[in-house]
Amino acid sequence: MSKPTKKILNDPRKAVSEMIDGLVLANDGAVVKLPDHDAIVKKEIPDGKVALLIGGGSGHEPMFHGFVGKNLGDGAACGQIFAAPSPDTIYEAAKAVDRGNGILFLYGNYAGDNMNFDIAAEMLEDDGIDVRTVRVRDDVAAAPPDRMDDRRGIAGDVLMIKIAGGAAAELDSLDEVERVTRKAGDNVRTMGVAVSAGSIPETGKLTFELADDEIEIGMGAHGEAGIARQKLQPADEITDQLIEKILSDLPFGKGDEVALLINNLGATTMMEMLVVNRRLRQVFDEHGITVHRTLVGTWLTVQEMAGFSVTLMKLDDELKHYLDMPASSVGFSNM
């Protein structure tokens, strides 16, 4: 097994807790950490606000905990690296963001997250708190369309949090926030490609192996297997392979207006992603698809994995409205 990338850390077993301390400080006073839990909560949450709680395993920074902020998540429950947070952490985070008008849980569709968030939701319901759950299931590589529940949540998280955050800031009812968020989820599709693996600091082991001339199409956000392992090809060919699968899945077609997100899985250069963007637009032009808004950057990472994913969300006026609301957090550059 080849050597993982060198990392600048202290004790790897303390990496998550030190990372969270650093993240809270990077928010310049806008969030706090819960005393006994790896959870981050916004300082100012108005009474009566529908609360948005996001979360998942760590190691994907800035996802999830970097998206607590203005018109984004009200709080985030953080697990260890690639491990869903525990029910008690989720429960405490939920209690801390609750303002009496219900809570939306928004997270990626993984067995571990589902079970832990569900246990917390049961505990909260015992307390009489209304909890709804939307699971991001955007990875078209994970399962065919007739098995949506088997799909993983990957970079679609970014657009989902953006829209849910806007909806939760503006709308008065949990029903409505849930409805908008589900609509976003029904219209989002992602597929990625990995060119090299990431490693968990505590094990020091790469989560998979790729030969020097190999890539994996459809790779998951923890190094889960994709749909094809193949030779490295020119950017345009790889792009075509990803986008064809995405377009035919929803399907997207003539006249659709979309949000496009190209997400760096870690070590890929922005130059590569911009070259991919160029090709994507040629394909969209051929299909009569117009792009309302483009995001190219680093949002959901898999440690030092190199590769990227392409996310498309079909928009209507309502989704556009929430997507376009100003937002700021550590993960959104805070500018």
């Binding site: 697990g79 008690d88 832990n116 993983r152 505590e202 297997a225």
Partner: protein, 211 residues
């Protein structure tokens, strides 16, 4: 032949379970690297280190408490799928010992049955999906089938069945958890969570025989 495992022996047994899991972190890491995301070993270590800490700082008053404490520690420190399902094994399974001052052949079998049902419910899984349930379920059946009142024999039967369950997972196609994505490529690899179950029952067997 061992008829009962009293509270102190139970605590000792749970400690040796924890130590064995912790000693096998690399094996579990490698198994999860083959089929999942490579964190099962360190997750189980976090959980069982917390279990040891809990048993040390707050000596359990009953057997049920001992299992509950271990379950709570795992549930709150392991994280991931394993945190939920292994936490459930101990927390829900603990009910089988309610009001008892020792583990018996009967209550141990009931513990595994309870655990099996609770895991299936929590995980939304059936046997054959290549999860730890494929070690828990045969273990529960073997324990029941063993019968009698030699608790160490019951645990030994369960442990042996769990080992076979691990082997059987090699041939299964994963349809849940992170291994699901592998599809056909998951075949040939055992399920990491099933290996953990076999380590846990193996440690229990050794502890029971020694008591």
């Amino acid at each position: 032949m061992v008829k009962k495992i009293d509270r102190d022996a139970t605590v000792a047994m749970l400690r040796s379970v924890a130590n064995d899991v912790i000693a096998n972190v690399d094996r579990l890491t490698d198994a999860d690297l083959a089929t999942g995301d490579g964190d099962h070993g360190i997750g189980m270590r976090r959980g069982f280190e917390a279990a040891l800490e809990s048993l040390g700082s707050k000596p359990p008053e009953t057997i049920e408490d001992a299992f509950k404490q271990v379950g709570m520690a795992i549930m709150s420190k392991t994280g991931g799928a394993a945190g939920a399902v292994f936490g459930t094994v101990f927390r829900s399974g603990a009910k089988a010992f309610a009001g008892e001052d020792a583990i018996t052949a009967e209550s141990f079998a009931a513990f595994l049955e309870e655990a099996q049902a609770a895991v299936a419910r929590r995980g939304g899984v059936e046997e054959g999906q290549k999860t730890m349930l494929d070690a828990v379920a045969p273990a529960a059946r073997a324990a029941k089938a063993c019968g009698g009142n030699d608790v160490s024999a019951v645990i030994a039967a369960a442990s042996e069945a769990a080992d076979k369950g691990v082997d059987a997972t090699k041939e299964m196609l994963a349809t849940t958890g992170k291994a699901r994505s592998l599809g056909e490529r998951s075949i040939g690899h055992p399920d990491p969570g099933a290996i953990s179950i076999s380590i846990i029952l193996g440690a229990m067997k050794n502890a029971a025989e020694a008591s």
